[in-house]
């Protein structure tokens, strides 16, 4: 086992453990904070695998923006300090689905890649990622950016009911009684 293997296992354990705490913790806001740890550990996994740029994008986008928005929304609505047991759901069905998908995927990967050893790829520097995105993958990249743009416009339209509304019909004259 190399140092990279040990680091991968340790970071994976942190990510999975924090992920389990996210769903089992009864403290709403703490769940969000555990999500920070879990996503941070995944960024660490990317770093160990040599994908430096992806790791920092993970921190910038997921930890710095997505989780913060999530915490922000929770704090705006309801975020008591202490446990909120009334929000719990029965664990049975979700545990069944989660364990089933996890085991199935694990079995699939173990079966497909069991004896094949892959050489480690070159480090994912910003230069290489840029060349790939704007060279080979430029069409999917553009399609994705159009999708994101339309989602943005849609969000603005949905949150502003005054856009595109018909002018109200003139109010009927009130007849004094």
């Amino acid at each position: 086992m190399t140092i990279a293997d040990v680091l991968l296992l340790a970071l994976g354990a942190v990510a999975v453990g924090a992920g389990a705490l996210v769903v089992t913790s009864t403290h709403l806001v703490r769940s969000g904070l555990y999500l920070v740890i879990s996503l941070g550990a995944i960024a660490g996994l990317y770093l160990v695998l040599g994908a430096e740029l992806v790791a920092w994008v993970q921190i910038l986008v997921y930890v710095g923006a997505v989780v913060v928005l999530l915490l922000f929304a929770v704090m705006l609505t309801r975020a008591p300090i202490g446990p909120s047991p009334d929000l719990d759901r029965p664990i049975g069905p979700s545990a069944l689905i989660g364990a089933g998908v996890g085991l199935g995927l694990a079995a699939l990967f173990a079966d497909a890649f069991r004896w094949i050893e892959f050489p480690r790829g070159d480090p994912g520097t910003a230069e290489r990622v840029g060349e790939q995105i704007f060279g080979t993958w430029v069409l999917p990249f553009e399609v994705l950016s159009i999708l994101l743009l339309s989602a943005l416009v849609g969000a603005i339209v949905l949150s502003r009911p005054d856009i595109g509304r018909q002018p109200a019909p003139p109010a009927e004259e009130e007849v004094p009684v």
């Binding site: 710095g64 913060v68 300090i81 910003a126």
Partner: protein, 319 residues
Amino acid sequence: MPLWLDLLVRVVAVMVAFLVLPLVVGQAEHKVMAHMQGRVGPMYAGAFHGWAQLVADGVKFVQKEDVHPDGSDRTVFRLAPIVALFPYLIVILTIPLGPNGLVAQRLDIGLFLVLAILGFGVVAVLMSAWASANKYSLLGGLRGAAQLLGYELPLVLAAASVAMAAGTLSLPGIVEAWKPWWLIWQAPAGLVFFIAGLAEIRRPPFDMPIADSELVFGYMTEYTGLRFAFFLLAEYVGIIVIAGLTTVLFLGGWHGPFADQLGWLWTLLKVFAVSFVIIWFRVTYPRLREDQLQRLCWLILVPVSLAQLVLTVAVKSLL
């Protein structure tokens, strides 16, 4: 020089910078603010113009009782000041001081790392705000989160402009590529970066999350003693970090006469000059209102930084 010695020297240098520079800026703030307001500021501690005032403050903070509000979430409450300080320590690691590798940790995508880590600071604001079990704290924290999320966009766009101009994401690489005429070419991006950076470290006139006349002291209301000192330290390190990044990205870092020998001195001089301007802003401008703050960000800073991107591409493709 053997590897371990090199590593040790760099780590010690960063720790010393981390402990000394904020104190210098803090003392400068006391004195500069005082003289701008027609006072003399601290005069007694340390006998000569109150140079030891912040040391005395530190001793005072250590002696204070560590109070937890009733009903607070203690674990999160205790962790928040450390989470607030930690990102800046990492950022200081990457700021180049002089030419020929005078930087604690040379990284290929240092600029990207810096922006990602700076974005992490908002988590500490939300943690301290929520865990304090105090309405003013929570209001301050929500203001802070909205402000930090909004101003991160112009900050990143302005930094992207200078990275495109230099053709690299490495901080020393950007300084090496810098030419004096960039001062004009990249001026709008520099201004946007500086203003968004001020908002990012929540300094006046962007201190709505703290707003002592409205929210007591915002998300720091319930903190006392050493933990409060950590937040203060984070603020002063934040000044150094924003001044350092502005220097490195837009003011040419170590460029100046005799840059090969005195490069580090030029960087430090520029950092202190920008820090002085940050303090000057605090004395000059009143606090913005919450809606004015968001308006400034979305209607002025973001369009300006987008226009700067277009300008950068146009000039770059003409050259």
